[in-house]
Amino acid sequence: MADLNKLTLADARDKLRGKEITSVELTEACLSAVDGAKALNAFVHDTPDLALEQAKAADARLAEGDAPSMCGLPIGIKDLFCTKGVASQAASAILEGFKPEYDSTVSQNLRDAGAVMLGKLNMDEFAMGSSNETSVYGDVVNPWKVDDRNLTPGGSSGGSASAVAADLCLAATGTDTGGSIRQPAAFTGIVGIKPTYGRCSRWGVVAFASSLDQAGPMTKTVRDAAIMLEAMCGHDAKDSTSVDMAVPNFEAALDGDIKGKTIGIPKEYRMDGMPGEIEALWSQGTEMLKDAGAKIVDISLPHTKYALPAYYVIAPAEASSNLARYDGVRYGHRAKLSQGDGITEMYEKTRAEGFGPEVQRRIMIGTYVLSAGFYDAYYNRARRVRTLIKKDFEDVFAQGVDAILTPATPSAAFGLGEMKDADPVQMYLNDVFTVTVNLAGLPGISVPAGLDKKGLPLGLQLIGKPFEEGELLQFAHTLERAAGFVAKPEKWW
């Protein structure tokens, strides 16, 4: 059978269980797609031997009729997840050579569910970036192309997005601190869901901003997102913020009816200078949900404007604390020292050599906003604003809104290098529609909904109530079916 790598998780699962294909065949198809896609720079640490070993084990389980939910399905893992014995360096020079002695809970959950790991995926360094241009491995290239420019796949989960969109793997893990799953999913025409804070264990995932970070799946369809999310999440005693709640069967909930449900359209997301095509897509999405029987209401989330500035206090503050551990002592890079250098010089040189410019910038901003004299003015104020942002959402949910529809990104994918001379704040604006969701701890999903005039994918975002991923996936599934997005990038790599 040709092009097995192009299958969805759901189709591959059914074919594996129906004995039409084997996991080894499927895995080999993906490995050969990975080998042929070096130009995308999505996979950065390939694990073909491990993948084939896992595929053989999966085939044996399938033959015995003992197949867990992801049995034999080849996926990619973002470099931010610790994977036992396999390089895990958060796309940073400071973790050069780091091979964890353990698996993150999420990657272990996926292993336990029978998934096959093809390798580690490129990303922005420490997940700090929106274009995958801050990686020590170099830029990731978007498989979508409309002229001679190479486009960004978005970030920070750019390698995951590019790999799934180019059919190098059936699905991939991502992480989302301010939009790092949903923005790249939108830029590459795939589905990406960030679950409610606490759904997925953060244990073993390299920390960026602990109160915002969540892992989630990046997949070809909403059904696949349901399947993989269920395998990833669950309570974990090793992460005290992981919630002790039963994990529902998300896939079973997909086909429910959305008749009579209420979708809110927030007026604050209608930004000045927003491209007409995105505005039009948003209206079309609204109509689609209305046609499916949902009630559409206009809502207001008055503090939306302050989400990005609050985020750029809170996230760097937490990062400056989390990244203090990279000191050249326990793992990763240590700078060569000169005669007479003491421990302070070791720290300072190691961190200057090991961290790229964006990471250094955010650590220092975080250091500044937490420093004596500014803690109240910046950090505490931002946390107060965060309370208000969360309250905005609580208020509309209390008024009977079941989910909120917004654009996923303020533009389609842009060219690599095009933002090089812009000030950092311009890049931060990429997350304007997604970052509110992290601040409020809510689940959010990006669904591909159309193409722009040039032929590049655009996504819509649905935001759900806390721990209502099942219902959110149902809305997303409805939108996906109505939008009928089937476009794929033409292979040029």
Binding site: Y306, P309, I343, F355, R383, L388, K390, L439
Partner: protein, 95 residues
């Protein structure tokens, strides 16, 4: 609030990141651009609003105060840039 070169140098020192003197003016300028953006927060009325400590309503779980892990010296040291005799090795700290 404007950040000058001295403040930029102080922040770099606090963050334990070596920044060469000639890179400080550009760094200070970047800080100012970002802080200028952040300063919008001053427009928000936060009177009486509690700073968020947890985004989910749950309290942090407590566990039994018992040893759950251990005897992994070799694994703990396996990624160290310099490990000797079962310890992490660093430049001399005390004269």
């Amino acid at each position: 609030m404007s950040i000058d070169i001295t403040t930029a140098a102080k922040v770099a020192k606090l963050a334990r990141i070596k920044v060469e003197d000639d890179a400080l003016p550009a760094l200070a300028e970047e800080f100012n651009a970002i802080l200028g953006f952040i300063e919008q927060l001053e427009e928000v009325d936060v009177e009486g609003v509690e700073p968020m400590t947890s985004v989910t309503p749950q309290r942090l779980k407590r566990r039994e105060d018992v040893v759950t892990d251990g005897d992994q010296q070799e694994k703990v040291l396996s990624n160290a840039p310099d490990a000797r005799e079962g310890f992490f090795a660093v430049p001399k700290v005390v004269e």
